[in-house]
Amino acid sequence: MLQVDDLRLGFVAGKKNLIAVDGISFAIARGETLALLGESGCGKSATALALLRLLPGAGRIFGGQVSLDGENLLQLSEAKMRQVRGGRMAMIFQEPATSLNPVLTVGRQIGEVLEQHLKLSGAAARERMLALLRQVGIADPERRLDEYPFQLSGGMKQRVMIAIALAGEPQLLIADEPTTALDVTVQAQILDLLAQLQAERGMGMLLITHDLGVVARMAQRIGVMYAGELVEVASREDFFSRPRHPYTQALFAALPDAAHRGQKLLTIPGLVPSLAAMPAGCRFADRCAQVMAQCRTQSPAWREVAPGHQLRCHWSGSAGGESALRHQLSEINGDAGKPCLEVSDLKVHFPIRKGVLQRTVGHVFAVDGISMAILPGRTLALVGESGCGKTTVGKALLQLVAPTAGSVRLGGGELVGLKGKRLRTVRRHLQMIFQDPFASLNPRLRVGEIIAEGMAALRLQTEAGARHSAIVALLKQVGLAEEAIERYPHEFSGGQRQRIAIARALAVQPEVLICDEPTSALDVSVQAQILNLLKALQAELGVAYLFITHNFAVVEYLAHDVAVMYLGRIVERGRAEEVLRRAQHPYTQALLSAVPTPRIDVISQAVRLAGETPSPANPPTGCHFHPRCPRAQAICRENYPPAQAISSTHAVNCHFPG
């Protein structure tokens, strides 16, 4: 149905044209899902926009053909093209929050598609809209039609986006990272919805994603993009069982999971080449494990290695030496003795003020009484979806947010309520790595100054020479060259910046390091590098981690202990094996089954959660989870369940565990 031939597009920068996508070809049949997989900056989103001729101002299509049912879209007049957009071909975007017009009602935004493409208006249009909203699983559609986007939750917005896309009855749906901005439980709902709608309508679908798990869940055929080229196209079975391209193989190997515990993750060295400096030969050559002499000079041709399995690579071996490339990591295990950080009944409540006199009318119960302990040299993973308060826990531990109640004891000393100099001396022992490597480094300071900041504030290594050599040692430890000292953060990539942030935290030799989603902004291959580094540092320095994350793969790979948070409270805790293999809380079970696994041999026994996380300002009575819980009984609505010990290390807050 859709046929893309040798599509070339790029961006105009000054007087130069930067080629972002260099001659890609693929086809999508009716009812088929093709997934375009790639890391950030490989040109997959630009490709999707180019199909609809929606490239931003500086974008240009330099050549190629895009034909839909034999009609070349690139040669259509703008007016004709408008009939295609939203009509025969529709698109949904990554950020549902910003992709809907904030000042128009939901009904209006769906209605304009009906009016434009089906010439429907009035009551007929309203009927159709209601039907569409029901199809995308929105309860109470009559009310929702007259609401504005800000009144909907994130998942509902994406459902509305899908309804808008479906309104023109498209033959082809382009979904650009449709679930990246959503929580795992909501992601599972949306993916289910998309799959079901596609089956019902027999639509073709182009799914753009970076997530191998989503690919495994959704795609029939997969195209892997690297640096503006399609490097491998294969059917779902071939792709997951026999990936051919070294890049695809490396992507799989870089994924953390339980099977690789205690091993170093395979990483892809180096960076994706920039648009301005594409290598002449194979674009992956510099980072390839199988690189040969001809790769440097000659760009590999697009060849078919098996029916329906195409490849752009000179190398024709198979993935063999994978395990040989891994190194065993030594792990500190066993009982490490007394906990170095103990948290008991920590609460952080933010007041909500309203009315004439700004009286406090309620509280946001961001963190509502959590207790945990971190042992030296071990990793405790704090897992939860967005809005559950896990980041606030990290900040409260560091006293960046004043806790409302509870205690945080570090090596026996109480942190809550400390002020001034005494707090500063304790801070040495507890540090943090932040989520966004671009916001966590001051762009106006040199790397050396950034790393030295903690030492200066805490009066460590006061002598200039000693401090310099300490910084050099730290940089070496996190895998950066000494020259970095004189350079500025913007000269580094995301992964390198995260290394700098780690060096900054380690500079004061903390015993506990709070890592707040340190890899969630990074590509898979870079994530693997950072995880390896964190693991190596733990082995070397014996530092304990509190790892705040929503990513179960990372938890499986890294954590010794796991605590699962829901709406400000910990609902289940225990050793990693216990929580991940024998989860007792229905929420943990649902979370685990919602995570799309990057394998096709696993048939997930779907435990799907209805709805989304309620607001922490107004948590449900009794067990916070009961409105979404399949096991909820009367007692769940009335009493918050006390902790039940499953084993000496495993505890769960549920009336009906199991």
């Binding site: 960046l400 943090m432 966590s440 504030a457």
Partner: protein, 465 residues
């Protein structure tokens, strides 16, 4: 025994202080790659550099006009030297033909005769009413007044030719230097073609300026190129003198405004709580009084103070000078609120950023966080708003002087020039040159400042561009 005595007016001190600060800032920028790269982007903007060239010319005039002295009077040797009461600037000295060649009253540009008829005793004819010859313009023409056009054109052409030669020499020298620089950079393999300094537009502007200014000054020795005003003073000279007043209003005001806006804005945004409430209250109160009225009230009060304390001022120049500074002070006090609010908002955003939290996690003191982390990341807003404010202030001066709450009436400024000249529009035939000259000069200055501000904003603001 010096032939002159240096006089330092307060505004001179501030002007040179600003100049020194600008040089200091330039040195700072040169050692700070992120800032340098932003300024490089300004340098690459053609329109921005063209306007900067014009601004530099204006600033040059202003600086020349900010070195004051009193000339020694001819005294007998051995006696204690006496100095003239009149305070002159270096510009006055350079432009002394313009300053001294006064006529009796109005004369049009390039006129050889006055604009008003007078009764003159002509030998042999008795009292005749006619337009008398000017004392200082076109004297060399003698009786051949009709040759004025030819003479002026000849002088202008000679000057243009000279200008062209100077420009060619300059360009050749620059090209040679650049060729060497390009060679060096090619060897070092650093290609900075994206942010290449817009030499071509600077040179073009320079050519234009030379082509216009050289003939202008060449002619101004022989004629009143912009005419003369009511008391016969050369309008070109007044325009030149107005430049300094405009620059001081535009620049010194920012000196008052800056510490208030930056200090209070950051403190309010960073500490929040009651400090924030208090500062917000103060600026809302100030903001709620319409600007002109607050300025009017303050200036009226300042006038009362000045008028009731004549003993404070030694010379008229000193009084006018202090009044100018007081006006800058008042303008600064009434206009810091906008920038303050902007900086407060931005600080509120910044303080939630992770690198600030990282610093807080180390226990870095608040003062240090503000100086190291917040201030440098607000710098672009400060710079943008300073450059943007400048043109607004120059325009405001004219309006305020018209309303009667501007600079001292004895001080030459665009505002006083316009104010003095606008009444004459009612005359038949119309006296337009004074107004035209003041408006044009002001327009060029403000336009250059605005275009420069645009270039700065584009280079510093990550959103635009």
């Amino acid at each position: 025994m010096m032939p002159f005595q240096i006089v330092v007016l307060w505004s001179d001190v501030l002007v040179w202080l600003l100049f020194a600060a600008a040089i200091g800032f330039a040195v700072l920028v040169a050692h700070n790659p992120p800032l340098l790269s932003a300024w490089r982007r300004v340098g690459a903007s053609r329109l921005g550099m063209a306007s900067a060239t014009i601004l530099v010319a204006f600033i040059g005039i202003g600086l020349l006009d900010s070195l004051h002295f009193r000339q020694a009077l001819d005294g007998k040797p051995g006696q204690k030297t006496q100095y003239a009461v009149e305070v002159l600037s270096l510009l006055d000295a350079l432009a002394s033909p313009l300053r001294l060649n006064n006529e009796k009253t109005y004369s049009a540009p390039f006129a050889t005769r006055l604009y008003a008829k007078e009764t003159i005793e002509v030998p042999g004819l008795g009292a005749v009413r006619e337009y008398p010859r000017l004392k200082n313009a076109g004297k060399h023409l003698g009786e051949h007044e009709e040759e004025l056009l030819a003479d002026a054109a000849f002088t202008a052409w000679r000057a243009i030719l000279l200008a062209l030669l100077v420009w060619l020499a300059l360009t050749a020298w620059l090209l040679q230097r650049r060729a060497a620089a390009v060679d060096a950079s090619r060897r070092a393999k650093t290609s900075g073609d994206e942010t290449e300094f817009a030499w071509s537009s600077v040179l073009l502007t320079l050519l234009l300026m030379l082509m216009v200014l050289t003939p202008l000054f060449a002619l101004s020795g022989k004629y009143h190129v912009f005419g003369t005003d009511k008391v016969g003073q050369d309008v070109l000279y007044q325009v030149l003198k107005s430049v300094r007043t405009g620059l001081i209003i535009g620049l010194v005001t920012t000196l008052v405004l800056l510490p208030l806006a930056v200090g209070l804005g950051i403190v309010a945004g960073y500490f929040r709580g009651w400090v924030d409430d208090l500062i917000q209250y103060v600026y809302t109160v100030l903001n709620s009084i319409p600007g002109v009225l607050l300025i009017a009230a303050s200036v009226l009060m300042m006038q009362v103070i000045i008028d009731t304390h004549p003993q404070w001022f030694a010379t008229a120049a000193e009084r006018a000078d202090l009044r100018l500074l007081a006006l800058c002070f008042i303008l600064g006090m009434t206009s810091w609120t906008g920038l303050c609010r902007l900086l407060r908002g931005e600080t509120l955003k910044l303080r939630e950023l992770e690198y600030i939290q990282a610093a807080q996690a180390f226990g870095v003191s608040h003062g240090r966080i503000i100086v190291r982390h917040i201030l440098p990341n607000l710098m672009h807003i400060v710079i943008i708003s300073l450059v943007m404010d400048f043109s607004g202030l120059v325009l405001a001066e004219a309006v305020l002087s018209y309303v009667g709450i501007g600079v001292d009436p004895t001080m030459t400024s665009f505002g006083t020039m316009i104010n003095n000249a606008r009444m004459e529009l009612g005359r038949e035939p119309v006296v337009w040159w004074s107004l035209a000259a003041a408006f044009s000069a002001m327009f060029i200055l403000v336009l250059a400042a605005n275009l420069f501000a645009d270039a700065v904003r584009d280079a510093f603001d990550p959103r635009v561009a």
